[in-house]
Amino acid sequence: MLSRISIIAISLAIGFAGCQTVSYPDTQIALLSGNVAASQDVIADTIAIQLDRPSVTLSRTAFTKSHKLIIERASAGPIADGRRMDRPDHFELRTRSGVCFLFHEESQSLTKLEGVRCAIGVERPAP
């Protein structure tokens, strides 16, 4: 079994490689393929870390019909949150050479996604 340290070390190497070669314009919009639920779990964890939140819940259709995803703080009810002035976070699923990336619009950061399968996306209209 890999130790946590070695996993991090491997990911650091992957990260540096990605950093050196991939930027937003190099990527194309993507949609999830394969085991969508498992990929959504990984993406939810990634977003939670990026936004410094305990966890994030995604819609079951996240990144299956659109390459865009909006994450917002869930409402605690109309009294507590009926007058909201915060703004949501926007993400895009991107791909290059079969590798999937998560782009966070507000921070302009591109994060490589491990264990996520995606394909160049064609937006599907809502049912």
Partner: protein, 547 residues
């Protein structure tokens, strides 16, 4: 190590690395390591000396706790330290700080009891407390509630018409393609029982817990058993499974052929818009109003009966989409007003207070920022309202009235929440105290009793319009639905539909504040339950009625 955990670590580290490369600028701000956490002490606690009328800086007492939380910035103190923080914080930021009693924080061993005192006792002209929105929630619980981008539900909205036994809870509407639609739930269905408990008569706390758990599932995949009775008195029992569902803000958008007072054919838009509380509301409204604009509608009936508010900026955009540039250009949609210590600066954010305009371009919630918004350029709007019409929905009404744009209310009195607050954490409790109100272009913002159609009469700020009723079996969006029929009648005849008067609701509204703090037998008579209701709106906060 699980696959998920491995992935988490990989994702985390790659995210940090790529962000650290600085390719795009910005990046997420790393959370600083906690310092002095867990009540490790090391510094002396601040003074507990109380001098009436003198308020030490609240920062002195921030995070000094009777029970410090491990892994946080909390330090060891006493309950009195927390009370001192509440006292100074309230004195600085509470909208009506000058009306607060000044009680010695050392005299209270319960921080929540002390917080309860830190509110005005003034009442509105109708006798209701001015401050009905003073509550707390454990921080851990609040954080749990604010973490997700989608929520678990059945895709049905339940309308709690009578929260007391015998309860009356019905389906208000359902979204297509959801579990509720799949099992055949319909608007108007009466909920008879859930998971073997009578929804109508269940009187124990255990019953209430069961009902809440079934009506408002915490997570996807929960299976509950419902028994319902439909319009034809047919009862049926079925299982339903919760799913993670994205709310559909605009449930109906249609054009109705109608007549004006000159008996000329006109096109009347009808939009059932149920929440400002999700980013996709911006896109949904953009699409709906683009369609209405393309069809050159002459009038609009905007149905906000179930709209409890949400993002104020989207509400501002909606004002523009209704009234157009000619009516809104250069005008104020809403200006936040804090207490008189802060006439120009937001005491919480430190930013200069600037009035919000009627936005004519998308603000980037779900439509690309800067995209010109469609506009109907109308001369007036009909808004269907009820006690569920709250907060940002009321801001829309107030914003339009502030620029003398004619608003006709159809239905019933709105909820009455012109106030707002910033949720503030201290020592594991998140406090909500009123810190600002929204004022329109005329400087008006005191509508704590809500807005009321003129025909309904006081209390509330009276607005031109007619009484109506949310009949449970009327089909939303159908011209024969009573509220919509009343609006169409007024458009054609310039007067209210008399028939609407005779069928005014005899049913108690779901979250009418009149029900809160009512008679002792009221289920809402417990103050702690009141807070819960205020926070979560639709849950049944219950105690046995006669015990």
């Amino acid at each position: 190590m699980s696959f998920k955990l491995k992935s988490l670590i990989l994702s985390a580290s790659t995210a940090l690395i790529i962000t650290a490369c600085g390719g795009g600028g910005g990046g997420t701000t790393p959370t600083p390591p906690p310092t002095g956490g867990g009540g490790s002490g090391g510094s002396s606690a601040p003074s507990l000396s109380y001098t009436p009328g003198q308020y030490p800086a609240e920062a002195t007492y921030k995070d000094v706790c009777a029970a410090p939380r491990a892994g946080t910035t909390d330090t060891q103190g006493q309950t009195a330290h927390e009370n001192f923080w509440l006292r100074s914080w309230s004195n600085r930021t509470y909208l009506w700080y000058s009306e607060l009693p000044d009680r010695d924080p050392n005299d209270f061993s319960d921080r929540l009891e002390y917080f309860d005192l830190l509110r005005t006792t003034r009442t509105t002209s109708s006798g209701n407390p001015v401050d009905q929105f003073h509550f707390t929630i454990p921080t851990e619980e609040y954080q749990r509630q604010v973490q997700s981008g989608a929520s678990a539900s059945y895709g049905a909205r339940f309308r709690i018409i009578q929260p007391r036994t015998p309860r009356n809870i019905r389906v208000a509407y359902i979204q297509d393609g959801t579990p509720a639609a799949s099992v055949g739930m319909k608007r108007g269905d009466l909920i008879i029982a859930v998971d073997g408990v009578s929804v109508i008569n269940g009187g124990t706390q255990a019953d209430v817990d069961t009902i809440n758990a079934a009506l408002f599932p915490d997570s996807a995949g929960e299976v509950h058993t419902f028994t319902t009775r439909d319009e034809n008195d047919i009862e049926r029992t079925f299982e339903i499974t919760s799913e993670t569902i994205t709310t559909q803000p605009v449930l109906i958008n249609k054009v109705i052929d109608g007549m004006n007072e000159a008996e000329e054919p006109i096109k009347i838009g009808y939009v059932l818009f149920n929440t400002f509380g999700t980013s996709i509301a911006e896109e949904a409204l953009f699409d709906a109003f683009t369609e209405l604009e393309n069809q050159n509608v002459d009038e609009l009936v905007l149905d906000l009966r179930y709209n409890g508010g949400g993002f104020l900026d989207i509400s501002s955009e909606l004002g523009f989409m209704i009234a157009g540039d000619l009516n809104t250009n250069g005008r104020t949609y809403e200006r936040l007003v804090f207490n008189d210590k802060f006439p120009n600066t937001n005491p919480v954010t430190g930013q200069t207070i600037t009035p919000s305009p009627f936005y004519s371009r998308a603000q980037g919630f779900s439509v690309a920022e800067g995209t010109p918004l469609p506009s109907l350029d109308l001369d007036r709007v009909y808004i269907i309202s009820d006690t569920g019409t709250c907060s940002a929905s009321e801001s829309l009404i107030n914003g339009l009235l502030g620029i003398d744009f004619p608003v006709f209310l159809i239905g019933y009195q709105t909820c009455g929440k012109p106030y707002g607050f910033y949720a503030t954490d201290n020592c594991g409790e998140t406090y909500f105290t009123i810190q600002f109100r929204g004022e329109n272009d005329k400087g008006f913002g005191d509508y704590a009793d809500g807005f009321t159609p003129l025909e309904v009469g006081p209390p509330g700020e009276l607005v031109e319009g007619c009484s109506g009723n949310d009949n449970p079996f009327d089909v939303l969006g159908d011209p024969s639905e009573l509220n919509l029929e009343t609006a169409l009648f007024h458009i054609r005849n310039g007067v209210c539909l008399n028939e609407a008067d005779s069928v005014m609701s005899s049913e108690a509204p779901a979250v009418n504040k009149d029900n809160i703090g009512g008679p002792e037998t009221s289920l809402y008579s417990d103050p702690r339950l009141q807070k819960r209701i205020l926070l979560e709106e639709a849950r049944i906060a219950n105690m046995p009625r006669d015990k």
